[in-house]
Subunit: 441 residues, 2 copies
């Protein structure tokens, strides 16, 4: 937006710019403005647009908006929000704001919000919404269209409609496509798809988002444990889940607690809190490698040249292990690898380690032999330690994430940082033991 408009606080011009602009872009523009201008500009939005824009604002901006606007405005926005957006908003607000907001919501919506707040954090229930079109088996296509026209405007999607019986049990689904291509007198029961891919409220949301990708879905019904339809998840939310789960894995795999907000919107203090605990833990666990080195101090005093190869051994072990753990963690997350594949994975990693290790060992042997004045014993010691390290790293790197999964921990925790710390200890033990035997020290 033009800087001048903002500096002069020309609200008429801002309003004009917002007209016809995509709601996501309006939200982006508001985030860039100074607080008081943003709030004033937000309050000028037409009622229906305000709720949509509100759903895309950041947590901080929402809180500021709610602090300033009237109770009537709040009630207008919350009642116009889709239920999933309302629940997300309520979840992140402080208690006093929540009380004020809930006091101004329609009672039926308030009950629903309270019910939805109870679903566990990573469950399908936590990402679903209730604005779906529900049809009866006995309706004709013409009646279905009439029903969609009457209620569709407030539904999150009208492209997949769900067919339920009197007890709200899910019988099937019918797409807008098949409705549009069908004859008006056909009966819904005859054209609906009875093999519907659905989730249960307590299912894991990551697995739900995998199903969207696998089956190319636009929406998925969510049922309770009696097969009663309680909500739907739409593809835009499934995409968000997929992106958030991947980001969470990236963060965990780099030894950080997952963050809620984008990088730039997170303060240095919160970044520090997310990172320092892991750094401390890993630093202290390196005490073990320090102790191993100290216990071989005599050997090092005899042959200080041994020290020069420690970084190479440690880094190569860490890299080899990181490769294996990354592939297994990602495979588990995408459900391409399952726990029953454990032996196949281990066997594959050992084969890869034997081949990769052989290449590394040859190059390493030649390099040391050339640069150490043809010291064959030294070259052999380092190379054998390297081979053992690579094989150990790949075995540990591939197995620890599967073990974590088995014990219902997040496999992404067993990534490079943890693997490196463990492999370091093994590499040093192998190295010094081999040196003692082969070099007679």
């Amino acid at each position: 937006m033009d800087r001048k408009i903002l500096e002069e606080r020309d609200y008429a011009a801002i309003r004009e710019e917002f007209r016809g602009m995509n709601i996501v872009d309006v939200a982006d523009e508001l985030e860039e403005m100074e607080e008081d201008v943003a709030i004033a500009a937000f309050r000028m939005l037409p009622k229906d647009k305000a709720a949509e824009v509100f759903a895309y604002l950041s947590r901080d901006t929402r809180e500021k908006v709610v602090e300033v606007i009237t109770d009537k405005e709040i009630s207008g926005i919350i009642n116009a929000l889709f239920l999933d957006d309302a629940v997300d908003f309520i979840e992140e607000m402080p208690a006093n704001v929540v009380r004020r907001v809930l006091a101004h919501v329609r009672p039926d919506k308030r009950d629903m919000i309270n019910q939805f707040l109870k679903y566990p954090e990573d469950s399908a229930g936590s990402v679903m919404t209730v604005e779906y079109v529900s049809l009866k088996e006995t309706m004709t296509v013409r009646e279905a269209f009439a029903s969609i026209r009457a209620t569709g405007i407030n539904k999150e999607t009208i492209y997949t409609c769900y067919v339920t019986d009197r007890e709200r049990r899910l019988l099937g689904a019918v797409t807008a496509r098949s409705l549009m291509l069908a004859e008006p007198d056909e009966v819904i029961g005859a054209i609906m798809d009875r093999e519907v891919i659905s989730a249960t409220t307590t299912d894991d949301k990551e697995s739900l988002s995998n199903d969207f990708r696998k089956y190319a879905l636009l929406a998925m019904p969510v049922v309770d444990h009696e097969n009663r339809l309680v909500g739907i998840v739409t593809v835009d939310d499934a995409i968000m889940v997929q992106e958030e789960e991947a980001t969470e894995d990236f963060e965990l795999m780099a030894a950080m607690s997952p963050s809620e907000e984008p990088y730039l919107r997170t303060s240095a203090w919160v970044h520090t809190k997310n990172r320092v605990v892991w750094l401390l833990l890993l630093m202290l666990s390196a005490t073990v490698t320090g102790a191993i080195i100290s216990s071989f101090e005599d050997a090092l005093a005899v042959l200080p040249a041994l020290v020069a190869f420690i970084p190479m051994l440690m880094d190569t072990g860490g890299n080899a292990g990181a490769q294996s753990s990354t592939l297994v963690i990602r495979g588990l997350a995408l459900e391409e690898v399952s726990l029953s594949d454990v032996l196949e994975v281990l066997w594959k990693e050992i084969k890869v380690a034997v081949m990769c290790g052989a290449a590394l060992v040859v190059v390493n042997f030649v390099r040391i032999w050339l640069t150490s004045g043809h010291n064959v014993t030294m070259a052999l010691t380092v190379s054998l330690a390297l081979y053992a390290t690579v094989i150990m790293a790949k075995a540990i790197g591939s197995m620890l994430p599967m073990a974590a999964k088995k014990f219902r921990l997040d496999p992404a925790v067993m990534a490079a940082p943890v693997i490196t710390t463990i492999v370091d200890a093994g590499a040093l033990l192998a190295y010094f033991s081999l040196a003692k035997v082969l070099m007679h020290i």
Copy 2:
């Protein structure tokens, strides 16, 4: 599927199982079968279902199917495939299969395939398809419905229709939702959305998939450089792009060449090829750290206890750098961080490093002081080296991915393995230099 059916090759029973099964699940079942059974079972599928299932088969299975089936069957399948699936298939087949396949495709489709094969690998053009519904501005809603009913059955989506002029230039879009909620006599020009979010054929497909997420789109039109509509991308393909790009980043960040196929379907030999080059390069670059240690061999001979802290320093530096590089790489990929934020990022990382480093240094100092018989100089030397390492690691870790982006390299290459190798060298230099000064060796 029941084992007995497969062992007895009871094709009637297999056919019965496949009826009503989701096409994705049919493809999965075929992948699990023995080759000859799978091919026989595939050939029994009804014609329209066969093409859909074919689109979900793995590369190997497709190649085997094509080798066996008749020219007529090939032509039936390829002509029934959506253009993007046909192009994907052609791209991965060996030349002799491609010739045979193209010889049996309708000439108009063959021309289109050849044209689509020319789009660069990571471009929007490479993921688009041509099966979209196109409407005219002057049509009424009734006429639009008639046009959708007449042509919709073969379109990849009918939920977003595109309005073009006589030169095929994109004027706007109209959703099936607004068609269904509009009066039959309204004119398309009056209800269409003129602010359409579109991509150009040469746009990057990762940025395209980010737009799907940001704007919650179901489809996006792709135009050429004269704003003529040439294709669309649908949300299922955008999800695939998002998943593939994230997987590619995971692999690059763990020092591997990205793989095309899922983990278990990739042979140990291909896994080795994807991993060994990076391992070799990083191993050889550790020569530098080795040289640094060798150059301080005198100091180590005087004080061998110094060696015990090398792993802790190296690992902590590697972890601190990996945290920063991971967040910046992910932020760049999701377009939450851009190159213009470089100073903000650097300043934030330095603040985080100062705070994280302080916590690490205090714990580390106390630990060494307690375990080294109150050796203050030793504790101070290691702690100062640690502080310098953490600050350097976070600065380098956050800046190298941005530098890579600036020089049009993939930022994901500048991840933990590369950062670790660089930080190792800096950490050792700082450590030994401090030791020389503070401990007078």
